[in-house]
């Protein structure tokens, strides 16, 4: 069963904001004719994802941030992550890797390796944004595509970084996360298409 990248918006059924609508593929004889048939509303407020449901690498990050008491210390933590991020080659600063909606420039590049897991590189010209990108890289490195696609953006609030979940043009962190999910989906469809 393939889940398409979740889309944000207001659920028409429950009117909850920020609900995710998941398209679920119907099982068919020929996989290349997957049809996206059933639309499930996964209401944020009634089915909020528990920390324990997150991939282990992301759980660790959320946990360590939740322990940090004040904003300045959290920013220090972000800068620490930024410094640890492996550098990205300038050639990878391409439009298809760029996250839209950030005031600073952010690029993320996924790599699907033979172990079936996704590995990330990221870069930004703003240190704090690079820290946020690093956080996502560390949290989602070595996860399977299904794991990455199952993550709901609610964990962003748990970090205490004052990043909102409103899918607006200016919401860099959410956009980064959604871009990573979209890129993951792209990896999946290109591998499915070639098999």
């Amino acid at each position: 069963m393939l889940a398409a990248a979740p889309s944000q918006g207001t659920c028409l059924r429950s009117r909850h904001a920020g609900c995710r609508t998941q398209f679920v593929a119907a099982p068919v004889v020929r996989p290349c004719l997957q049809r996206l048939v059933r639309r499930q509303c996964v209401c944020m407020s009634t089915a909020a994802q528990k920390v324990s449901d997150l991939p282990g690498s992301l759980q660790k990050i959320v946990g360590s941030f939740q322990m940090v008491p004040d904003p300045m210390a959290r920013y220090k933590q972000l800068l620490f992550y930024a410094a640890k991020l492996p550098p990205m080659a300038v050639e990878q600063h391409q439009p298809e890797n760029k996250v839209e909606g950030c005031v600073s420039q952010v690029w993320v590049v996924p790599e699907l390796r033979d172990d079936g897991k996704v590995y990330w590189t990221a870069d930004s010209d703003s240190q704090l944004t690079k820290g946020l990108a690093a956080l996502l890289v560390l949290g989602l490195n070595g996860c399977s595509p299904a794991e990455i696609l199952s993550v709901q953006p609610g964990f962003i609030e748990m970090l205490g970084l004052k990043q909102s979940l409103t899918p607006s043009r200016n919401n860099g962190f959410l956009n980064m996360f959604l871009k990573m999910q979209k890129l993951t989906l792209g990896l999946l469809s290109s591998t499915n298409g070639s098999s």
């Binding site: 920013y75 410094a83 005031v103 600073s104 010209d125 240190q127 704090l128």
Partner: protein
Amino acid sequence: MDTIRGAAGPPSCSWTPPSQSSSRSWRRRAASVAEAPSSSVSGLGAAIRKDVPILEQSINGRPLVYLDNAATSQKPLAVIQAMDDYYRHYNSNVHRGVHTLSAKATTAYEEARGKVARFVGAASDREIVFTRNASEAINLVAMTWGMDNLKPGDEIILSVAEHHSNLVPWQLVAQKTGAVLKHVRLTDSQELDMQHLRELVTPSTKLISLVHVSNMLGAVLDVEAVVDAARSVGAKVLLDACQSVPHMAIDVRALGVDWIVASGHKAMAPTGIGFLWGRYELLETMPPWMGGGEMIQDVFLDHSTYAAPPARFEAGTPSIAEAIGLGAACDYLAGIGMEQVHAYEQEIGCYLYERLAALDKVTIYGPPPSAKRGRASLASFNVGGLHATDVSTLLDTAGVAVRSGHHCTQPLHRHLGIPASARASCYIYNTFQEVDLFIDALKETIDFFGEMGME
């Protein structure tokens, strides 16, 4: 990153008097003016603060230092109360009603129009068209006068420093009419280059639309030079006065331009209200834009006749409370006196500039305060090695509110070769102590990143 700096030489704070004269007759006529605070210019900030309730609050445990006034200004109690009063006591639809409440609302609404007219020195209140904001006002001119008058090959002169609202509408019009866009460059001191303007002007130039005071550079336009250049070829002049109307005395007749636009929310008025001033004879030639109620004279099924300006351009129920709020803001500012406002802002703007300039690794954009026409009380800057967003995020933890990004001037940032900038912008309720707090917080921020190994 080799960045461009303002004119050579140390900045020196010499206050230059405002270049536009203002009409004083409104002072006598301004109704229900708030008590004018102490006249000592340097004490103005502290005195005004008492009237602006939002300023007394803490952010992250530190007192709010609001330095994002170029984005939007805070409102005095008099403006908030005027709107509250309207909704509590006489809210009613304007213009066609005969009953008492409607008559009161209409009077207040039209009085607000008169206040705005006097505030900018218009010949008559019929020359003020209420819009949602300055952006809408520019679009109004573009879609009416622009679409009606521009032909293929006609030229519109803008500049590299314009706000997107004074670029995009003209791009849309140029695409539809075949008109050509040209852009004035900057001088070495980062003001608009009037010599370049004169080179750009040709007999095909139909419109020159420029920013009066730049929201990023702080540069003040040489309006006289622009008007001279325009008149030499019979071109019209539109002035984007968003950063000038709130901060200095404006006299549209002395300026000699054809239209000005401004937004209320940058001048202590609510959001959702702005205006276009235009010479009446010119407004009369402009066809309608939005059609509907209020802007008509007689309506038949297949055609209508239209009202005279300004009603012609105000379709539907207007933002009545907001207009009344704008009128109250004009009263409030007029009560202080725009010369006082401008004098105070030159002082605090100069102080802001000098304190910033004294910091290592900080680059400030635009001309120095000693420039011929001065500069606005704002400073867009970058700290070497840091991204503007990082700087403003850390400043927020210290309660200091500045803006970072491109400030709706992407072409200008591209022209200067920078990805973004941070901007601190003052208004009459900011104090010199607040500037000190901002500089202290900025130093802390620079040290913080320095400790983390970012140079």
